[in-house]
Amino acid sequence: MNEVGAGQNEPGTPSVPRRNFCVAGIGALGSVIAAAMALPALMYLLLPPRLRGQDEWVEVGDISQLPAGAPVKMTFRRMRVDGWKVLTEDNTAWVVKSSNLQVFAFGPQCTHLGCAYHWDRTKDEFFCPCHNSLFAIDGKVIGGPARQPLHRYETRVEGNRLFVGRLTMSA
C-alpha cells in the first residue's frame, strides 16, 4: 500500500506521513460533518420547546356559600397545551375556607402515589384510601406514608369568585 504514492514523491521520501495526514484530514472532516448533524439533533431532542401561552387563571366558582372549616371538592375546566394539541380538561380542587376566612385550594392527588383522597367528615382530616395517608385541613401530613404536604393551587379571590393558577409544591 505504501508503494502507491511513492513514485510521485521525490525519490527516497517515504509517503507514509502524507498518507497519515490525508487519513487524519478525512477523519477530521467526517467528525465536523457528524457534529454538524449531532448538535442540532441533540438540541431538537433535549431542549424544551417554546411554550405557548395557556390559561393562567381559571375561575373555579362562587365561594360565598363555602362553610369555614369544611373542605369542598370543586371542579373547573381548563385549557392545556400539549405539543400541538390544545386540550380542555376537567380538573378538581379541594377548596378550604379557614377560620380566618383565608381560602386555599389543594390539588386532588395524594402526594404519596397520586391517588384521589377525600375529606373525612367524622375525623376532620383528609384521608387517602390507597395507603392510609392522612392530611390536616391545612394540608400538612399527619399520618401514613406521604411525606410532602398537599400541593396547592395559586389562588386569587375577586369578590366572591375564586380563581386558581398553577399547582405548586408548597407548604
Binding site: 502507491v4 448533524m37 442540532p40 439533533a41 438540541m43 431538537y44 431532542l45 420547546p49 405557548r52 400541538w84
Partner: protein, 120 residues
C-alpha cells in the same frame, strides 16, 4: 504499547474489523479516477441524512389527516431546531433526486455497469 493500540489489537483479534475496514477503504485507485465518481457516495450520504432527520421528525409528527398540519406547525414554530431538521429533510429529499439522476447518468456514460462491475 499504548492503550489504543492494545484495544485495537483486541478488537482485531476478536472481530477482524481492522482488516475489514482496510479491505473496504484502502483500495488502490486508478489514476483515471476523479470528481465524476463522487455521486454514489453523495447519494449514500444524503440517504443517511434523510433517514436520520426523518426519524427525528417522526418524534413530533402525527401522520393523520386531522393532525398532520398542526403537528408540522408545532415542529416549525415551537420545537427547538425543528425548523432546521425539517429544512434538512426537505432539501435533502430534492438533492437526493438530483444526485441519483447524476449518478445514474455517470454510471451509464462511463459504462460502469459492465464486467466486472455488474454487481456494484
Amino acid at each position: 504499547m499504548s492503550h489504543w493500540a492494545r484495544i485495537n489489537e483486541w478488537l482485531e483479534h476478536r472481530t477482524g474489523i481492522s482488516t475489514a475496514v482496510r479491505n473496504l477503504f484502502y483500495e488502490e485507485i486508478p489514476a483515471s479516477s476523479g470528481w465524476h465518481q463522487v455521486f454514489g457516495s453523495v447519494a449514500l450520504f444524503l440517504f443517511l441524512v434523510q433517514a436520520f432527520t426523518g426519524v427525528l421528525l417522526a418524534f413530533n409528527y402525527a401522520p393523520s389527516p386531522g393532525e398532520a398540519y398542526n403537528s408540522l406547525q408545532y415542529i416549525l414554530t415551537e420545537v427547538t431546531a425543528g425548523r432546521l431538521m425539517r429544512g434538512l429533510h426537505h432539501w435533502g429529499a430534492s438533492m437526493l433526486i438530483v444526485v441519483v439522476v447524476l449518478h445514474m447518468t455517470q454510471v451509464f456514460l462511463f459504462g460502469a455497469y459492465k464486467k466486472p462491475r455488474e454487481a456494484t
